[in-house]
Structure formats: structure tokens, C-alpha cells
């Protein structure tokens, strides 16, 4: 660990408070945590109240405001990691290193904990060490990691093979088979003109690939027409929904298409500035993206008078997240881009009129921008020929879980669940979670349903559970995920996700009764009906679906009794037994 040069850091970030999350990332990377002194220094230099900086540092999971290990190991804790054996691997690493889960070793060398899905579900189990991703974990690789830590080797000097990330593509269609050259979409846009480019996008019927499915052309038009001195384009690369990883592949293999899409958007709506908000878990994409941006500046694909088009200037800036799922929600993402806590805003007003710094802002998913670039070149009619009438085009699916060939699959919209199961070699699937924990749980009776906005809408995650899996374990994992990722702004989600987690944990531990199920269902309704944002609205969907479609998986873990204590009574006497040395009959309590 090396002390950070605060002065240099501030200069590199132009003393710009909107870069606060980026600055804190650098402090974290250099010093392993963000100390109270650093918070005071940054606040003073940026002219921000100290408490506000502390609040930002305290919001993001990757920022440690108390010391963690010099090597901070965070195991990806998605259900797919667990299905691939991550729990045993984590225990193995803890045993090798002599450190308890969630603890910092006495010599401060290492800490081992968990983090939300790191987007390597097709090559899990995975972990992050000081932010760097390692996939395809095995006993041997865990042992190698333990040796590197004990040898105090800098992470940069660890065997590069550990950090290899594969782009596993199994089926290509419109997007993944594209051979467009960098700038080709831009030239097409310049040739058509801004208004015609927008018309073409509207004609394509392209709908946002982030999940909500708002018509992209309408979004662009609204931002274009909104009053304001300046406009922004944001690429939402905060691919946080557990089970999704296709944006990682798009950013790694099709980056110029993404950047073309952003630049076309800038041209169409009259924006001069774009941001890529990249999830912190994809740190390995930072250098390639920075390099691509530099190359595009050199090739006049960015900068003043892009490609010689007089009067159209466009720049793209990369921002990294720091461990927050809710920042995938567009208004929370904008807050984070502004250097704040990632709290979803009250809407309306929407970002298209009041976005980044209060200005009209288009926030589009990575895949949406790629599709927009293709539409610009090939035309709206070409795009609309594919997919269904209500869901034109193709969809890139992230397939993981119990199947022969996990990875990325691009198919026209309207593919049935069964067709995708067949394509990836999933036999005897018991259920599929479409679109991640916030999405939809489908059983075999629904495998004929179509993956399209008009039937089962999806943001791309497709997680398969084979017949031997216990689906209650899935619900437990999802409940923990939402409790960890709730931003805490509103009462129902902040408290509800924690109480729901406790209820489902009790049921899973066979300490639950029908009353716990009733409480969980009530909480689910409360969160769905009164939460501030979509995270809270959907945080209970997994349990509602499980109860509706797979009720016996819950029932078979319930106690036959109508009522059980909410805590382990005998365990509650253990501390007193310890200090009194008693172990007589009166020193114990039974559950009933």
C-alpha cells in the first residue's frame, strides 16, 4: 500500500466535485481504505462539507471506511457462484489463510468477504482481489491465490492467467455479427442529418435493452426537445443485475459500436458530452476503454469537429462505479456521476429533461447504443424486420446456471424460453430466472413463453436451475442480495429487505412457521406498493413467485407448529451459561 498523492490526485481530477467517486476509488486503490484524514482533506480541497464526502465514502460497497486487509478478497456471491461451489472455495481460502469470513487477519494482510455478482457467471465462481477479477475458481487456483497473498506479491505481479476473462459467444445475430468499422455509423448519421437519424431510430421501434423497454427514439427526441443550454449522453454500463454479463462482452469486443452509438446520439440530440458509467467490477475494462477513447480522439472520432463535421464536438468520459447495484437505475446513476450517493431521484422529472447537472440527458443501456449504431447504418426498416412487432430487433442473452454451454447468445426477440434452453444445452431445467433477481421466475409450464417486451420482458439475464436445485436457496440468495443493495432511502425497502431476509433465512433454517410466510408475503406487498424505486418494487418478486409457483419448496421446510420463537432460546442462554459455568437442567431452554 502506498500513500496517495492527494495534491496530484486533485489536479488530475481538476478539483471537480463530480469526480468525487473517482477520487475515492483512487484513494481506496492506493491505500486500501479511505481514512477520516483523507475525507477531511478531500472535502477541504473540493469545498464540500466533510460529512457529505463521508456520506459518499460510506455508500459504496467497495469503499472501506475502516481498514480492511492489504489484500481484500471479495467472493462473488451470486446464486450461480454458489451453484458452482463458491462457498466451499471461500472456506478453503479462509482456512489456508487462517482468517475468518468477513474478518481482517490480525497482521492486517488479508480479509475475505463477499460481494454481489461480479458478472462472470459464465466462468464462475469468481472473486475480486483489490478490485481485480479472477474467474473459473478451482481448489488449485484458490491455493495459488493463497500463496501469492502469503508471498506478499503485488496483485499486478500475480500470474496473468489468473486474470484472464473470456468472451464466450455461442450465437451471433445482427449485433454480434456486425462488421461495421469505427465511425461508420457516424458517417451514416452525418449523411442523413440529425433529424433524419432520429426519424430512422423511431422507425426501427428500438426499445431500451436495460429492461424497462422505453422506446429509444422517443427518449432521444424528448431530450432533444427539452429546454436547456446543454445535453448529455450516458452509456449505462453498470451491468449489476446478477446473472447479466453480455454488456461486458459488448464493451470488450464491440466497444467502437458502443461509442459510435453514443456519438450518434450526441449528434442527434445536440449533446457534446457523453459518459460511460462502468461498474467497478469491470475494472479490467478500464484500460481498454481509455485506450479506445484515446484512439478515437486520434482518429477524429471524438473531439472538436468530429470527422470534420463542422460544429459537432463530442467527448466521452469514463466513470467507474464502486459497488452499488442501485446505480444501474438511471437517476441513481446520474447522482453517482455527479459524485454523490447513488440514491434514485424522485421522478418525474425524468432524466430526459432534468438529468446530469439538471440538464436533458439520455441514459441508454450498452446494447441499446450498439443497436442504435446499427440502425443508423442499416435503417429502421431493416431493424424492424427482425424480432416481433412489439419488440423489434434482437436480444443478447447472458446464459448461466445448469446448462452445457453458458455464455452469450444473440437471438431475435420473441424467442421462447424452451428454445434458449435447447440452444444452451439445458436438460431437465426445473426453473429459469429471467432478468435476474428483480425479474421473473418461470417453471416448465411457462417455457413456451416468449422473451419479448410483450410477454416475458428481460434485461438479458437467463439463469437456469436444474432439477436437483432447491429453489428456496435461490430465494435466500436473492433476499440477501437485495438487503445488501438497498440504498436505504425509503422506509419499506430499507427495513423491509432486511426483515424479508430474516424471515426467509428462518424458513430456510427450518425455524420458520406459516406465520413467517405470512409476514414475508405482507412485507412483499408493502415493498411492492410503497417503495421509492424499482429496486424496492421488485425486491420481493422472487419470493412471491416462489410462493405462487413452487409453494412446496417453502412448505417442506416449515415447522408443523403454528408458532416458533423468533430466536434460538437455548442459544440465548449460552453467554450466561459460560460465565456462570452452569449446565444444569434449569440452565437450558427448549424451543417449545
Amino acid at each position: 500500500m502506498q500513500a496517495v498523492d492527494v495534491k496530484g490526485l486533485l489536479e488530475r481530477h481538476r478539483h471537480d466535485p463530480t469526480r468525487l467517486v473517482q477520487m475515492l476509488r483512487e484513494v481506496q486503490a492506493a491505500e486500501g481504505w479511505i481514512s477520516p484524514t483523507r475525507i477531511t482533506e478531500l472535502a477541504g480541497a473540493l469545498g464540500l462539507p466533510r460529512a457529505r464526502v463521508e456520506g459518499v465514502a460510506g455508500f459504496y460497497a467497495f469503499f472501506a471506511t475502516t481498514p480492511v486487509g492489504a489484500y481484500r478478497v471479495l467472493f462473488s456471491d451470486n446464486i450461480t457462484d454458489r451453484m458452482l461451489g463458491s462457498v466451499a472455495l471461500r472456506e478453503r481460502l479462509c482456512a489456508k489463510l487462517g482468517v475468518g469470513p468477513g474478518e481482517v487477519r490480525a497482521d492486517a494482510r488479508v480479509s475475505v468477504a463477499v460481494t454481489s455478482c461480479t458478472g462472470l457467471c459464465d466462468q464462475g465462481p469468481a472473486l475480486l482481489v483489490n478490485g481485480h477479477a479472477i474467474g473459473r475458481l478451482t481448489d488449485a487456483r484458490i491455493d495459488l491465490i493463497a500463496r501469492c497473498i502469503e508471498a506478499q506479491a503485488p496483485v499486478e505481479a500475480w500470474p496473468p492467467e489468473l486474470f484472464r476473462i473470456d468472451d464466450v459467444i455461442h450465437r451471433k445475430d445482427l449485433i454480434l455479427s456486425s462488421s461495421l468499422r469505427p465511425g461508420e455509423a457516424l458517417r451514416a448519421a452525418f449523411a442523413r442529418g440529425a433529424d433524419a437519424t432520429l426519424e430512422e431510430l423511431l422507425r426501427s421501434g428500438l426499445r431500451g435493452r436495460g429492461g424497462a423497454g422505453f422506446t429509444t427514439g422517443e427518449k432521444w427526441r424528448a431530450a432533444k426537445l427539452a429546454p436547456g443550454p446543454t445535453r448529455f449522453v450516458v452509456c449505462n454500463a453498470d451491468e449489476g443485475e446478477p446473472g447479466t454479463f453480455k454488456d461486458r462482452v459488448l464493451l470488450s469486443r464491440y466497444l467502437d459500436l458502443v461509442l459510435d452509438g453514443m456519438t450518434v446520439c450526441g449528434f442527434a440530440i445536440g449533446a457534446q458530452k457523453g459518459f460511460i458509467y462502468l461498474r467497478g467490477e469491470y475494472l479490467f475494462l478500464q484500460a481498454p476503454i481509455e485506450a479506445a477513447l484515446a484512439a478515437r480522439r486520434k482518429a477524429h472520432l471524438l473531439g472538436r469537429d468530429v470527422l470534420g463535421h463542422r460544429g459537432f464536438d463530442f467527448e466521452v468520459e469514463l466513470h467507474l462505479g464502486a459497488g452499488s447495484y442501485v446505480c444501474g437505475e438511471e437517476s441513481a446513476l446520474i447522482e453517482s456521476l455527479e459524485g454523490k450517493r447513488g440514491i434514485p431521484r424522485s421522478r418525474p422529472p425524468y432524466p430526459v429533461t432534468h438529468g446530469y447537472l439538471g440538464q436533458p440527458t439520455v441514459v441508454n443501456n450498452v446494447e441499446t447504443l450498439v443497436a442504435a449504431a446499427l440502425v443508423t447504418v442499416n435503417g429502421g426498416a431493416w431493424f424492424a424486420k427482425h424480432g416481433t412487432a412489439k419488440s423489434p430487433g434482437t436480444r443478447v442473452h447472458s446464459v448461466s446456471g445448469d446448462c452445457a454451454r453458458p455464455g452469450v447468445y444473440e437471438f431475435p426477440m420473441g424467442l421462447t424460453v424452451q428454445e434458449l434452453l435447447d440452444a444452451c444445452g439445458a436438460k431437465n431445467a426445473q426453473a429459469v430466472q429471467v432478468s435476474g433477481p428483480s425479474g421473473t421466475l418461470l417453471g416448465p409450464a411457462e417455457f413456451r413463453r416468449k422473451l419479448a417486451f410483450e410477454d416475458v420482458a428481460t434485461a438479458g439475464a437467463f439463469t437456469i436451475f436444474g432439477e436437483t436445485r432447491d429453489l428456496l436457496d435461490v430465494s435466500v440468495n436473492f433476499a440477501h442480495f437485495f438487503a445488501h443493495e438497498s440504498c436505504g432511502f425509503c422506509t419499506p425497502c430499507r427495513v423491509g429487505t432486511t426483515l424479508l431476509k430474516k424471515s426467509i433465512d428462518a424458513i430456510a433454517a427450518e425455524r420458520g412457521t406459516r406465520r413467517d410466510v405470512k409476514v414475508a408475503l405482507r412485507l412483499a406487498v408493502l415493498m411492492r406498493d410503497t417503495s421509492h424505486c424499482a429496486l424496492g418494487h421488485t425486491a420481493c418478486a422472487h419470493f412471491l413467485a416462489l410462493h405462487e409457483k413452487f409453494k412446496p419448496t417453502i412448505d417442506r421446510r416449515l415447522s408443523s407448529l403454528e408458532f416458533l420463537p423468533t430466536f434460538d432460546l437455548d442459544e440465548a442462554l449460552a453467554p450466561a451459561r459460560e460465565v456462570t459455568g452452569r449446565d444444569d437442567g434449569q440452565a437450558h431452554l427448549e424451543d417449545t
Binding site: 477520516p36 484524514t37 475525507i39 477531511t40 462539507p49 466533510r50 460529512a51 457529505r52 463521508e54 456520506g55 465514502a57 460510506g58 455508500f59 471506511t65 452499488s324 450517493r341 424522485s346 418525474p348 438487503a483 445488501h484 443493495e485 438497498s486 440504498c487 436505504g488 432511502f489 425509503c490 422506509t491 419499506p492 430499507r494 427495513v495 423491509g496 429487505t497 432486511t498 426483515l499 430474516k502 409476514v519 405482507r522 412485507l523 408493502l526 406498493d529 410503497t530 417503495s531 421509492h532 423468533t566
Partner: protein, 234 residues
């Protein structure tokens, strides 16, 4: 003719720019609320003002009033949701009313009475939240914080001091003060600050005056919160 919307079959007049809650309160119709305050921009975090608008749930404090809206306010369903939200706030903190100086003047407690909360229903979390008595004139009892951010907003917008902020997230979200030591005594707060008086519960307290008004003779002992004129503040 002024514009109106309907709330529980009553026509509520409004002017452009008002929220549903503002218009209702101005017309003498009570909508439960904790984080909303007439002097601050609506914020929408406590959710106890949830109403049903054209069949969909929404926080009335952030919802712009529009001609022709059909709003449900006092229905059994909404009362149940609001009661559960108040119960969540109670189980989240340590709300031991008998020892609280704010008892009788506390909006959370008054809302508990209003919604007839007799039991907490959910399992209490019993968090560990040490108090801060470092300041000579003030003390902070975080056990009672409902994270409404009124002190955050008041200190920033009215007092111009930025004494309070929030840190952490999810169930670990908590109120912090603007000093490296984390102690209130090391901030620039003054006992006369709006941030001090705006606290709807018993977190920010002035020392030496706790029981000047006896229990039983306090704001919400006289009448339920729903019958209190909006301007009257404890």
C-alpha cells in the same frame, strides 16, 4: 374556476405547482407524513403519505397535483400500509417512549396513535446506536432516528452549516455529523439552528429542558395529529 382533483370523493382545489399533499393539507384534509415539512422541498423517503392515484400507489408528498386525479387517502388498505410503515420505523430503531423527552411531541409516536399501532408486529432489530452528548447545549440520541433528513435539509438550506448528512446504506444507513471526530461538539451547530427544532422525533434535543412541559400536557396529548393545524409545531 380553480383546478381540482378528487380525494376520497371530495373536490380538492389546487394551484399549479402544488403537490397532492400540499393541496390536501391546505384544504384541511389530513394526509399522514413524517419526512414532509411545509418549509422544505418534498423528499419522499418515509412513504407514510402513500395514497392511491387512479389505482396506483404513489407518495402524495412528491406527486404533482393534476386536474382530474382520483386519489384515495383514508381507505382501509392505505391505513394498513401506513401502519406497517410506522411499525417498520419502530422496529428499525430503539424507540423507548417512556424515557424519551420528546414523548407527546413526537410525530412518529403521534402517527402510531393515529394509526392505532398497538404492537410492532415485526421482529425488532435492536440496533446498537451510541448517543452523542458531547455538545454543551445539545444531545443526539440516534436510537430514535427515522432518517427523514429534515435536519440534513434544514442545516444545509436554512442554517447554511451542513452539520448533518447520511452515511452507510440499506439498513446500515445512519445520520452523521460534520466533524472528523464524529462528535457534535466539534461541528459548528448552534442550539438556535432550525436543524435542531425541525427533528420530528427525539434525536436532536436541547439539554436542560426535557420535562419542562409535563407528560400528559404535550402537543399530541391534547388532540390526535390528524386534528392538528398544520402550522402548529411541537
Amino acid at each position: 374556476m380553480s383546478k381540482t382533483f378528487t380525494m376520497d370523493e371530495r373536490e380538492i382545489p389546487f394551484v399549479e405547482g402544488q403537490t397532492v399533499m400540499q393541496a390536501a393539507l391546505a384544504d384541511g384534509v389530513y394526509v399522514p407524513h413524517l419526512c414532509a415539512h411545509p418549509e422544505f422541498k418534498p423528499h419522499g423517503s418515509c412513504r407514510v403519505c402513500t395514497v392511491k392515484v387512479n389505482g396506483r400507489h404513489a407518495a402524495s408528498c412528491t406527486l404533482a397535483a393534476r386536474e382530474g386525479l382520483v386519489v384515495e387517502n383514508q381507505t382501509a388498505e392505505l391505513r394498513e400500509l401506513r401502519r406497517e410503515l410506522v411499525q417498520l420505523l419502530f422496529v428499525e430503531g430503539n424507540h423507548f417512549c417512556p424515557s424519551c423527552e420528546k414523548s407527546g411531541d413526537c410525530k412518529l409516536q403521534a402517527l402510531g396513535y393515529e394509526l392505532e399501532v398497538k404492537t410492532l408486529h415485526f421482529t425488532q432489530l435492536f440496533p446498537d446506536r451510541p448517543v452523542d452528548a458531547s455538545h454543551p447545549d445539545l444531545m443526539l440520541d440516534f436510537n430514535r432516528c427515522i432518517l427523514c433528513e429534515l435536519c440534513v435539509r434544514a442545516s444545509a438550506e436554512v442554517d447554511g452549516r451542513h452539520v448533518f448528512a447520511l452515511s452507510g446504506r440499506g439498513i446500515d444507513k445512519h445520520l452523521i455529523v460534520n466533524s472528523e471526530s464524529g462528535r457534535l461538539a466539534d461541528t459548528s451547530i448552534a442550539a438556535t439552528d432550525t436543524a435542531v427544532s425541525v427533528c420530528p422525533v427525539g434525536v436532536i434535543l436541547k439539554k436542560g429542558r426535557g420535562f419542562r412541559v409535563p407528560i400528559g400536557q404535550r402537543t399530541y396529548d391534547a388532540a390526535p395529529i390528524s386534528a392538528m393545524p398544520e402550522g402548529k409545531k411541537p
